[in-house]
Amino acid sequence: MIAAHNLFISYRGRNILRNASLEAKPGQVLALVGPSGCGKSSLLAALNRMTDLIPGATVSGQITFGGAPINSVFATRAELCRHVGMIFQKPNPFAMSIRRNIELGLREHGERSRAKLKQITEHVLRDVGLWDEVQHRLDHSALELSGGQQQRLCIARAIALKPQVLLMDEPCSALDPIAAERVEQLIQSMRGQYTIVIVTHNLAQARRLADSIAVFWTREGIGEIVEHGPTETIFETSSSEIVNSYLSGRRG
């Protein structure tokens, strides 16, 4: 569904990522694993052109969506974001009511009908399992929710736009274990319906969730992908010494 080909990323002249290529097939989960500072989050940011907003960031190489280069598929960055959503590590609901959090993106992308807005809001809140918890306080501030609820709200907010792809940057790492598990279960339930690219430090989580993984490492201070393929293949039969050490916990 979405793929990167020979991606090079640098911030203000400092090389972050070198020659990265990977592919997330439709409906599948691709996990990006590796120690900190290997360029995983940077690659994710390049996929929905968040890098455009970082001063001094340069991205070269190609990103394709459904086989075609993203700049020819989507006329604007806003259009791209409608189809490729992003969830951040630290839940970041807007300082508004729960309802407005979800409606803002929809309004900005042209949805005007109040009936449709209400319908979509209920729909996505049910999908993330928040509806029963918040249906009576939709007009209360989203900041009153717990961390785990906030993160599920952010997911709801993103899927309200009906994207094909979801990019998740360590969505569980800032949450307590129980909340993290709920979010992980949510992600599990989304397999097949969305193509998901998830950055995670939690190898067990990657093994549970991902259909394929890409292992990142640094060489000479620049991040690169040392191995990628189906999850079980990598975990069981990788021939790379680095990958084996990392996956078995001996390094990284």
């Binding site: 459904g66 989507f74 006329a75 604007t76 042209g110 009906k162 319906q193």
Partner: protein, 299 residues
């Protein structure tokens, strides 16, 4: 929940929002340009009309023909004397007060809150009201008459709030590690203050003093009824004198044909202020502050 992968490239809302983004961009750029253009206009206007009249003799010579010709020597002297009096009164008082607020009194105690509130109110007092106060208190009650001293003391009251605030910020910006190190060495509070903290805060302190000088230089209404109006050469701080800003006012409003010389004086004044501005920025850079306008601003 199914997802069709039909991708529509032109979404229905694009044109409406594109117009909005465009219009907003135009408004913002227009507004910002107006601000920058007006400042440029004023500075250029002053320079063009005033610079040609400025020479060393202009700066030193006496005022002639009610100011229409001659120089501004006595005016500059008066201005400098007034500034010196202002600094002499305000700097020690504000530094001691700021030290009290940062070190001695509890930060949120009732006393501290009252002091800060009174300083906030003081900084909002209209300049002419300072003139009234100075006239009543320094000129009449304390019997100083129209004098440089009266004017300087009045301006001292006026710059007190900003000077205290900047001094506080300067002291608070000294990293707490310095104090820890001093405490670990067993230094007394006063030694820590005078030998460690204040020296470290010195550039920012200086910046605050320089900012206050800029404020004092710009002041007019408070001086007319305290330092006096007549353009004469003061022989001591007990004599009256006319400051640069008052001189500009007189030439612009009360002296027919005083326009050109008013511009010359304005050019000198703005020049002084530009130097002050540059000095502030430099000092703050040395002190490690990033953005000057936030220094001294009420948060």
């Amino acid at each position: 929940m199914t997802n069709t992968s039909s991708i529509k490239t032109g979404s229905p809302r694009s044109s409406g929002h594109r117009t909005r983004e465009y219009a907003a961009g135009i408004f913002i750029w227009f507004a910002a340009s107006v601000v920058m253009a007006i400042l440029a206009w004023i500075v250029v206007d002053i320079t063009v009309r005033g610079l040609s009249q400025i020479s060393l003799s202009y700066l030193i010579n006496n005022v002639a023909d009610a100011g229409r010709s001659g120089g501004i020597g006595p005016v500059i002297l008066s201005t400098i004397l007034i500034l010196l009096v202002t600094l002499a009164t305000a700097v020690p008082l504000s530094m001691a007060s700021a030290i009290a607020l940062t070190e001695q009194v509890g930060h949120d105690s009732l006393l501290a809150r009252y002091i800060r509130l009174s300083l906030d109110v003081l900084s909002g007092v209209p300049s002419i009201v300072f003139g009234l106060f100075g006239n009543v208190f320094f000129t009449i009650t304390l019997g100083l008459g129209y004098s440089i001293l009266s004017g300087g003391l009045t301006l001292g009251c006026m710059v007190l709030p900003i000077l205290i605030r900047t001094t506080e910020q300067a002291i608070n910006s000294v990293p707490v590690e310095h104090r820890h190190a001093a405490a670990a060495l067993g230094l007394s509070r006063s030694t820590t203050l005078f030998r460690v903290v204040l020296p470290a805060a010195a550039p920012a302190l200086a910046a605050g003093i320089v900012i206050s000088m800029g404020r004092a230089l710009a002041e007019t209404a408070a001086l007319i009824f305290t330092a006096g109006y007549v353009a004469r050469t003061p022989e001591s701080v007990f004599d009256s004198g006319r400051s640069l800003s008052v001189h500009i006012y007189d030439l612009a409003m009360n002296v027919p044909g005083g326009g050109p010389r008013a511009y010359a004086a304005a050019c000198v004044l703005v020049g002084m202020l530009l130097v002050i501005n540059g000095a502030t920025a430099l000092l703050l850079k040395v002190a490690g502050f990033r953005i000057a306008p936030h220094f001294g601003a009420r948060r």
